[in-house]
């Protein structure tokens, strides 16, 4: 039973860690590169404007998609590793 509890705890910790990393990237590409850090990226030209504009109108959306698929893939694997998946 103790094993089960510690296993459950480790699974949830792994999930939280993954969420925190993913949301840090989520915030960095949108609020960071797309908005607040745009002046810093102004020197990197992208098709008539700068990298910050690209992140605000395309880059963040593409990153969001990659993040969700990465999270789904990783979690579905963790489910199996920790034996909590639906059979």
């Amino acid at each position: 039973m103790a094993d089960h509890d510690s296993n459950a705890k480790a699974y949830w910790q792994a999930n939280l860690r993954l969420i925190i990393i993913s949301l840090a990237i989520w915030a960095l590409v949108s609020y960071g590169f797309g908005i607040l850090l745009r002046p810093m990226l102004a020197g990197i030209p992208v098709g008539g404007t700068d990298l910050g504009f690209w992140f605000a109108q395309q880059g963040s959306i593409l990153t969001f998609i990659a993040l969700i698929f990465f999270y789904a893939w990783r979690m579905n694997k963790l489910d199996k590793e920790f034996g909590v998946d639906e059979e």
Binding site: M1, H4, A8, Y11, W12, N15, I19, S22, L23, W26, S30, Y31, G34, I35, L36, R38, P39, A42, V46, G47, G48, T49, D50, G52, F53, W54, A56, Q57, Q58, S60, I61, L62, F64, I65, L67, I68, F69, Y71, A72, M75, N76, D79, G83, V84, D85, E86, E87
Partner: protein, 593 residues
């Protein structure tokens, strides 16, 4: 064949398809009615979610907003997509594991309180009803422009169609019609965009065309657009924003609001497994991104096209003669969405930014005020005509706009009717109602909801546009935090959750009402809605009423945690419930060993 006949074939054809699906996908049980039997493939659900989520606002209005605001309105692009990351990681898989039918179901059970359930029902109904008004009026406008019927008649036709498939099929019928509607709307949106991108940049992929070279001038498209609008006194299209605090909060409000909208959340109850709910959120965003990556390209290209139409020889040369204006301008003038007023009497159409800073230049050029007002909403609808595309593309746009409005309306109506039949009637008024009785109650509340929505669409309150801000604000400030705390905290209890939801709801509504009028009644605003009046306005970093949802959400979290810390922790069975939603494997195996 006349344009009217073409439009009729496209719209009529798409409607016949929806009705055929309705007859095929009838719901026989409450499980089929509320969650389509729970067996929807995650990719199919992703497609249905995309149609459910992309409303008339995404299809018709968003590109126009970006065209007008440039970089500053990128907030809509990030805000309306970033919410799916939150859904996929913070809500959807756990709520799917919980395995019940509605959003208030979870809030009521997790916070072991009928009070919490009723607060959630109230938030859900206010958010969804305000949202559905916009969809119904959008459908009415599309009908009246493309099918030459009155807007009211158009609304009634739309309501009958939705009634057929939503009342008969419930979530099951809605799911499969939404898939069909997605296909119609995405084809309608992308085809004109591809042609315009080809015409302006030679690149057939609009998202690449946006950052490509403008064929005619040899400059990058965005640099050309900046140059043209600058000559006319507008801000550069790509110009940075000064008030970044407000830009961040507005984007955050849209993201949290998206994740907290009940009609989107319940779509994830229809997939077979927790793992599918995660994949499904990814697929939903893929399908949404097809439109959201196209929209900014449409925005910049349409704005450049419009300026080139009006100033054929460049913005510093003579504008076009009113008598020689293109046909599409004449068509749209009849709808009142384009207005011309020859202020300097020279017979030409001068468009520029009529501000004091530009007054000297305007006077030098003999201009006496901006002469053309163009409603943002026509940009997408008029796009095929501006780009001289064949008539069938216009018919496609008509069917696409209606698909976007109707698919969202149906999803909202289901969220409303299930909250009434499942949470109000079965959950608190008449718990012993039979399965058959509940299904009947669900159908009747759906029918009533459609009638109310149609009536509101015909008699739109003058504040229809502002209420969308209210819908997002409420979802962000009340529903999202309650759901998230219910999953990620075992300590937040019934009193804390109710206090938090009410604090978030009330603070957000009050802040919106202060600037937009109490209950949106014109003339009752306490402060004028200008940036210097907003909270922190004196610093240049004011918070607009539309951005307050994110602040309301923070208030909700803070109040809920504080009140919970001061009162008794939730009982053991609730802590077990939280434990069970965190693990995909069946509840019995996860806690009972």
């Amino acid at each position: 064949m006349s344009q009217f006949a073409i439009n009729l074939i496209f719209v009529g054809g798409s409607f016949a398809l929806y009705i055929a699906i309705a007859i095929w996908a009838r719901a026989g049980s409450t499980k089929e009615f509320y969650v389509a039997g729970g067996g929807v493939n995650p990719v199919v659900n992703g497609m249905a979610t995309a149609a459910d989520w992309m409303s008339a606002a995404s299809f018709i209005s968003m590109a126009g907003l970006i065209a007008a605001g440039g970089y500053a309105n990128s907030t809509f692009l990030m805000g309306w997509t970033g919410g799916y990351v939150l859904l996929a990681m913070l809500l959807a898989p756990y709520l799917r594991k919980f395995g019940k039918f509605t959003v208030p179901d979870f809030i009521g059970d997790r916070f072991y309180s009928t009070g919490a359930r009723l607060v959630a029902v109230a938030c859900l109904i206010i958010a969804s009803v305000t949202y559905v008004i916009g969809q119904m009026t959008g459908a009415g406008v599309a009908f009246s422009r493309f099918l030459e019927v009155s807007s009211d008649m158009g609304l009634i036709i739309a309501a009958v169609i939705v009634f057929l498939y939503a009342v008969m099929g419930g979530m099951k019928g809605i799911t499969y019609t939404q898939v069909a509607q997605y296909v119609v709307l995405i084809i309608a949106y992308t085809i004109p965009a591809v042609f315009i991108s080809l015409q302006l940049t030679g690149n057939f992929l609009p998202p690449l065309g946006l950052f490509a070279e403008h064929t005619e001038s040899g400059m990058p498209l965005l640099a050309k657009l900046d140059e043209v609008v600058r000559e006319l006194g507008f801000r550069d299209y790509t110009a940075d924003v000064d008030n970044k605090l407000n830009m961040v909060l507005f984007t955050l409000s849209l993201m949290i609001g998206t994740a907290g909208l009940p009609h989107v959340i319940i779509r994830f109850f229809t997939v077979p497994k927790v793992a599918d709910a995660r994949w499904s959120a990814g697929w939903a965003l893929v399908f949404i991104a097809l439109l959201y990556l196209t929209a900014p390209a449409v925005a910049s290209m349409a704005r450049l096209n419009l300026m080139n139409t009006i100033y054929p020889a460049g913005p510093t040369a003579d504008a076009i003669q009113y008598a020689e204006r293109p046909d599409w301008m004449k068509t749209w003038e009849t709808t009142g969405l384009i207005k011309f007023d020859d202020k300097n009497g020279d017979g030409r159409i001068q468009v520029y930014n009529d501000t004091p800073a530009f007054a000297a230049t305007a006077a030098e050029r003999g201009w006496n005020g901006n002469e053309l007002t163009v409603n943002n909403d026509i940009l997408v609808l008029a796009n095929p005509e501006i780009a001289n595309l064949p008539g069938w593309v216009i018919g496609l746009i008509a069917a696409g706009g209606l698909a976007a409005a109707l698919s969202t309306a149906a999803g909202l109506l289901l969220a409303i009717s299930s909250a009434i039949s499942h949470d109000l009637i079965k959950g608190s008024l008449k718990p012993d109602i039979s399965e058959k009785g509940e299904l009947m109650a669900a159908r009747i509340s759906m029918g009533v909801a459609i009638v109310v929505a149609t009536w509101l669409g015909m008699n739109p309150p003058g504040f229809a546009a502002q209420t969308v801000a209210l819908a997002f604000g409420i979802a962000a400030a009340s529903i999202f935090p309650a759901l998230m705390m219910g999953i990620f905290s075992k300590r937040v209890n019934n009193v804390g959750a109710i206090a938090g939801m009410l604090a978030g709801l009330i603070s957000t509504c009050v802040y919106i009402f202060l600037y937009l009028g109490w209950f949106f009644i014109p003339g009752t605003a306490t402060f004028a809605n200008t940036p210097d009046n907003w909270l922190f306005g004196g610093t240049g970093y004011g918070i607009s009423p539309l951005s307050f949802g994110a602040v309301g959400a923070m208030i909700n979290f803070a109040v809920a945690f504080t009140v919970s810390a001061l009162t008794a922790p939730p009982p053991a069975r609730i802590q077990e419930l939280v434990e069970s939603v965190r693990f995909p494997r069946g509840a019995g195996q996860a806690v009972d060993h």
